[in-house]
Structures are given as C-alpha cells and as structure tokens.
C-alpha cells in the first residue's frame, strides 16, 4: 500500500448515478477484491477518504466504479464531470492503496455472485480467473435493466446470468434464485442482505463486506467485526485490514455495522 497522486484519464456515467473512473497508473501486487481510499476533497471537508473497490487494473490504468450516494461521492463526481474532456490527464486524484486482502483463488471453476454496486470488484476477479483458465459463471443482480452495469465486459470471461427485481432484464427476482447445486465455490459481493442470504445455501466460498471506515488501514478499529474460526472460536477482525473478503458463513452478523 502506498499514496498515489494519479491523473484521471476517463470518467463516464455508465448508469444513472454510477460512474466508471480510470486513473493512469498501476498498483503493484493488486489482488481482486482489494480497495483504495479515495480523497474526495483537497480541503478538510469532507474530512475522510472514501473506500472504493478496485474494479480492474489493465494496460489503460486503474479502474474504479462508484455510485454517488452522499456528499463525498457526489462532490467527486461533480468535480470530475465539470472538467472538460480534453483536460483529462490534467486532473489528479489522490488514492491510498491497495488495501485489505482480496479473494483467494482456488480450484478450476467458480461462481461469482454480485448485487448492484457490489458487481464491479468481481470483474477484475473474473478476468484473473479467466486468465488462469478457470470456468466461470457470473450471477449478477440489479434492481432494473437501467441499473445493470458491466454485463458485456463480464461476458468476455464468464457465462453470465442476470436477475432484476422488476424483470426488465433476465430472470425476474433475486440473484440468489439463479444459484444451482454445483455453484461451489462462490465469490460474492453486494448488499448485506444478499451475503446473508447466501449462508442459507449449502455453499462454500468467500464474500466481501462493507463497513463504515475511518482510516481504512487497520489502525482505528472503526470497522471491527467478529468472525468465527473453523473451530468456532470468536476472533475480532478489521474489515479494512483483515478483510474485506472473509470465508462465507464465518461472519457473526448484526453486532458491528450499519
């Protein structure tokens, strides 16, 4: 992990309120599932950085896909959108990372399960697995067709199945309804409700968690959760440092978090 000041080379709205951002550069030893702390303001307001997953890293640069949710991300999007396209490369963004531990890749097949804004980090994972010759199925869930993102890009690496809540694209219903008996191992990222729902299936694999963070580097203990070990002992873990990826089924929910 390190501090980087990188030129923004692309910033596009790929769905309502969802932006794809490319920074020129590379992050050494990046593992899919890791994130960066993004400085949204050079002044002291908003004060904290925002944790955003690395979507992928390729020849072009480091890609982040983020949704404008509150003050900080809206500020970021406005700042970048107001710049003339021709000035890309002259606008810089400060990031710190890569942070946390990514998804461990095991075996020769995998099912990736993503919901909403949890989908982006799975793209870098799909690409890495594909490069290793694995057989990948991607189950992606969105609210509506309008919110669906990155589908064509996933198709380069995986067999893709879509679910939308209103049925405007793919299966009508929840993404978990697409899970088959031989889905193991799964790699999931998305809203907490999705991650918890996965625990009701007979599956093994990994899920990536989200918690409010201050430091993002493991020193403030703002993001601590309890994780169960294989022999059912309770262990305190920092989502930012020990996670955000944890073995499926081992998180003790509902005690720290939103």
């Amino acid at each position: 992990m390190n501090e980087y000041l990188l030129p923004v080379i692309e910033h596009k709205e790929i769905a309502p309120d969802i932006f794809s951002l490319y920074l020129k550069g590379n992050l050494k030893n990046y593992e899919p599932g890791q994130f960066v702390q993004v400085e949204v303001s050079e002044s002291l307001e908003p004060f904290l950085r925002r944790p955003i997953s690395i979507c992928e890293i390729d020849k072009k640069g480091i890609r982040l896909v983020y949704r404008t949710k509150g003050r900080g991300t809206k500020l970021l999007a406005n700042k970048l959108a107001s710049r003339d396209q021709n000035n890309y490369g002259k606008t810089y963004l400060r990031i710190f990372g890569p942070l946390g531990h990514g998804f461990p890749i095991i075996g020769n097949k995998a099912t990736l399960i993503g919901g909403g804004i949890g989908v982006p980090p799975l793209l870098g994972l799909a690409k890495k697995m594909w490069q290793q010759g694995m057989k990948i199925t991607a189950l992606l869930g969105f609210n509506t067709k309008e919110n669906a993102i990155l589908i064509d890009e996933f198709k380069n690496y995986a067999e893709v199945l879509i679910a939308t809540l209103d049925g405007s694209l793919g299966h009508r219903g929840l993404v978990t309804e697409l899970i088959t008996d031989n889905a193991t191992p799964v790699y999931a990222c998305g809203p907490e409700a999705l991650l918890r729902a996965l625990e009701r299936f007979n599956l093994t694999g990994y899920y990536s968690l989200e918690r409010r963070m201050a430091c993002g580097i493991g020193v403030c203990l703002g993001c601590n959760i309890t994780v169960l070990t294989k022999d059912k002992k309770e262990l305190r873990q920092r989502v930012c440092y020990d996670g955000p990826v944890f073995p499926l089924g081992f998180v003790k929910w509902g005690e720290a978090g939103d």
Partner: protein, 315 residues
C-alpha cells in the same frame, strides 16, 4: 572532503533528544493514541523512526471488546468515534507488539486505561522495566461507561488515580486530560499536585449524530468522541489556558493536519504535539511534519524555544 564538511555530516547524524517530563523524544511530533494502532500497520507505509515517539492505542488489564454497532461517523471537518477502547490487553501488547517496536529505533509511549483505580495501577505495574519510555494515563475517554472520563472530569478523582499510579510506577507519567469539563485548569492543577510529569491536551469532545432516515442515533454507543480540525480552536484555547497557569510541559493534540496547525499549538505553549484523525485522510503526514518544522525554523532563523509560548508572551 574538508574537515568542516565531515563535522557537519557527523553533527547531522547525531540524534536530537528532547526531554518531555523525563521522557526522551526524537522530535516534537508523535502519533495520537488510537490513531496509529501499535505501529505494525504504519510500519508498512512509513519509516517509524521519523516519529518523535509512538503513542500506542489505550491498553487495559484484560482485553476489552469495545462498543457494538456503528463506531465511526464523519462530521463537519472531523469525525466522531465510539470505539470504546477495544484493545487486546497489556500482556498481549507486551508479548506481541512490544518486541516489534523495540526492534525499531523509537521511543514508545503507552496510553493506559482502566475501569477502576486498581486496573490503572495494575496496567502501569506490568509496564515497569519493559523498556517503554513513558506512560500516558488516559483519564479522558468518553466512550466507556465506567472509568476513563469519570476520572478525568472530577479534580479529586483525577488526583487520586494519578497519585496512585505515580506511587506504583517509576516511568515518566503523562496525563491526558478531557476537554469535557468547565474548568480545565482546575483538573490540570490537581493532576500536577498528584505528581504528573507532563500533560496531554486534549482528548475528544463528546458529540452525537442522528441518522435522519431511521430517526436513531447513528453510533452504536449513541454518543462518541469528536476529533479533527473541528476541535482545534478548543484544544488551542485549553493548551493556552493551562500553559499560563500550570508549570508542566504540555503535549498538544486536537485537529492538527498541517505544520501551521502544529505551530499554533507550539505558540500556545505546547512543547510537543500529537496527530490523530488527520492521519486517516493523510497517512504520511507524520513523516513530513518534523522536516517541515525544521525548514520553517531555519528559514525564519528561529529556535523552537522562541516559538513555544510565543502567543502567551505577546499579550
């Protein structure tokens, strides 16, 4: 190579030593407790030896689990935290973190907490002869139900806990005060009378945010401690007031995010400073500050002694 050049090289290699209530520091910039863990994480991103000292997260006798629910919230120019002093206990620190820190070339200051007078004493005793440079007695954490701030808001209680630890420990004793009081000078005097060697000012201010979508307090602990630039003017005022009335070295902390912020603390009367929440937005800040101060002094041909307390001498 001329002799003169050789001498310069030799001199610049000599480590500066600053005395702070009997503790020897490398420079005037330290981490604030709870914002730097026990050093292992930051060691991966910066050279710990650039710190004047490392002040580690508060330690109790037994491990504390901390608070449930949301623990951090951003606020205007700052943040609230309600960690609740989650820590692995002093023995775990001694076995698992201290050897790592001692292998570095850096003074170690241990922030200690307790639910009771006895717990403070026991933690302090455990740290005798372990090679730590000083104790920082935290009588000011707003996020635990018993102990902590309860000791820091009453002059008599503050006196008793400082005196008890003073009698049981040979280490330099810094006492970290709470700003959640009407008269900080009164507490500072009591703590001095009890035998403190230095004062750390300030810990966080109690605050609260409400999530208007749920109508509930956002933090699991309901209230939390405010830190960051938002509290700096309060911290400056308190350092200034205490420096005027109490003859003890002061370590200033609260909202420092740049050299100019640190200079305000020095001018108010602090001999050294700590940096906390600003590290979350600028993790390499502490690596830069000592050099920036050196350059500042050189440019203006000032000594740090001339800067410390400047604002008090000029009114």
């Amino acid at each position: 190579m001329t002799d003169r050049y050789f001498l310069l090289v030799l001199l610049s290699g000599v480590k500066q030593v600053i005395d702070l209530g009997g503790a020897k520091l490398r420079n005037r910039f330290m981490s604030a407790s709870g914002c730097f863990g026990y050093g292992k994480e930051f060691a991966k991103v910066m050279d710990l030896n650039t710190l004047g000292a490392i002040v580690v997260k508060g330690l109790s006798l037994k491990p504390w689990p901390g608070n449930k629910g949301v623990r951090v919230a951003e606020t205007p120019a700052g943040m609230l935290n309600a960690i609740g002093l989650e820590n692995p206990g002093v023995d775990y620190f001694i076995d698992h973190y201290l050897p790592f820190l001692k292998a570095k070339d850096i003074p170690i200051v241990v922030n200690i907490v307790g639910h009771s007078l006895d717990e403070y004493i026991q933690v302090a005793r455990r740290l005798e002869k372990t090679g730590v440079e000083a104790l920082e007695l935290n009588i000011s954490c707003p996020n635990v139900k018993e102990g902590g701030i309860a000791f820091g808001t009453s002059p008599t209680k503050a006196f008793s806990v400082v005196k008890a630890v003073r009698e049981q420990s040979t280490l330099p004793l810094w006492v970290k005060l709470s700003p959640n009081v009407t008269d900080i000078v009164e507490i500072a005097c009591a703590v001095k009378d009890a035998g403190a060697d230095a004062l750390t000012l300030i810990n966080t201010l109690t605050g609260m945010v409400i999530d208007i979508t749920t109508g509930k307090p956002l933090l699991g602990n309901v209230t939390g401690g405010l830190s960051g630039p938002a509290i700096r003017p309060i911290a400056i005022r308190m350092v200034y007031q205490v420096a005027t009335k109490v003859d003890l070295p002061i370590i200033g902390v609260g909202g420092i995010s740049s050299l100019s912020d640190a200079l305000e603390f020095f001018m108010a009367g602090a001999s050294a400073v700590q940096v906390g929440a600003a590290l979350f937005r600028d993790p390499l800040l502490l690596e830069r500050l000592p050099k920036e101060l050196e350059d500042y002094l050189k440019q203006r041909q000032l000594s740090i002694e001339e800067v410390i307390g400047l604002a008090r001498r000029s009114v």
